[in-house]
Symmetry: C3
Subunit: 156 residues, 3 copies
């Protein structure tokens, strides 16, 4: 079965980026008791630039959704780096979505859908996950969205 | 033993609402390796209306606590929907409480107690949980409180 | 092997404080299925006073890092209280770091490093963890940083 998800990535034309190095003294992901906890990922655009801005101010909904999708893409890149083979993903369990938001922006769920849709597209039914999505006033390096994840994995 | 917690709900007069459908592309709860991760739940009042507002501005402490309790009620409704039987709840492990807060409102813990007290009332000792409670500047659809949860479950 | 981490604490001159009692209706930590979930911890200075303030306004980076380290110290104190012996810590899995931030402060990662560095110093390789770090507009009791944690534990 090895390579099923990789084939899916090819099908949908999704190139995984180099997994981002942590910007600080921690690691991208830790596997413990069958669950992989992945650090909060920041969004990079196709040119490798950070996607910054605040929803409701300097970032529109469509761009926010693209940023969420970029975070999810990086989460998948981290899964591959940590697990070796994306077919070891048994279930995407939970996404924690933090949206850089003006005080009157209340469409965090729509922003987060950019990430959720990609997980389902890539992993199918096992890509359907629990989620929380909240507004925050600011994020590291000024990015628009940050997302962390918990993934259930098959034994190596 | 089936029905112990249901009986407790009757004792305290708590009617579970219909579990809310996700407002987006995800699922309400995922069970993996004996832990149920439940999506962030929004508060609904008895009329089924979203409880909106910001603590320290448009929402007082008592209303905030009622909103936290309403989130907890919905979490329990999601547990029932996911597990079939609430007696499969072995331990409420963790609540993540996000309180829509003005910059000078610092009683997030008191707000969150509205949820914590209900968990203990319904589940007894196994309802006692770890928790984080933080302020956020805004939440989806303008609600006052959002709460997600991790629950340890008995095998089905 | 009992006492290895305690000896390390002595080596680096770190005195654990009394583990803080929850400020509300919950418990400091819950062990379930080999994972210890620890409640969000607030920072106390050596005099036992809460470390308050907002990064980018009333709290500079160095003080914020000290506050993050103080949260991490309290997390370790809670591990000891919950597990009895710190040598039961198998792996620090995840830190969730919430930084009280002005809207233009984007160095949450640098603040969080105050906690991450201590975990690695105390636990060595098993202290290296996944992490998310986000800005929030306000925290309980006005503290500068709040951190929760997930820790993989050896069976008692």
């Amino acid at each position: 079965m090895t390579g099923t998800i990789e084939a899916k990535l090819k099908d949908i034309g999704l190139d995984l980026p180099e997994p981002a190095a942590p910007v600080a003294a921690y690691v991208p992901a830790v596997e413990a008791n069958g669950l992989l906890h992945i650090s909060g990922q920041l969004p990079f655009d196709p040119q490798g630039e950070l996607m910054t801005g605040r929803l409701g101010e300097s970032c529109d909904l469509e761009t926010g959704q693209a940023a969420a999708r970029a975070c999810a893409t990086m989460l998948i890149a981290q899964m591959k780096a940590a697990l070796g083979d994306l077919d070891r993903v048994k279930r995407v369990v939970k996404l924690g979505v933090f949206v850089n938001s003006a005080g009157d922006f209340t469409d965090q769920a729509k922003v987060a859908n950019g990430a959720s849709a990609l997980m389902q597209q890539v992993f199918g039914e096992p890509g359907r996950h629990a989620r929380s999505a909240v507004g925050v006033p600011v994020l590291p390096l000024g990015v628009a969205v940050e997302i962390d994840a918990i993934v259930q994995v098959h034994e190596a």
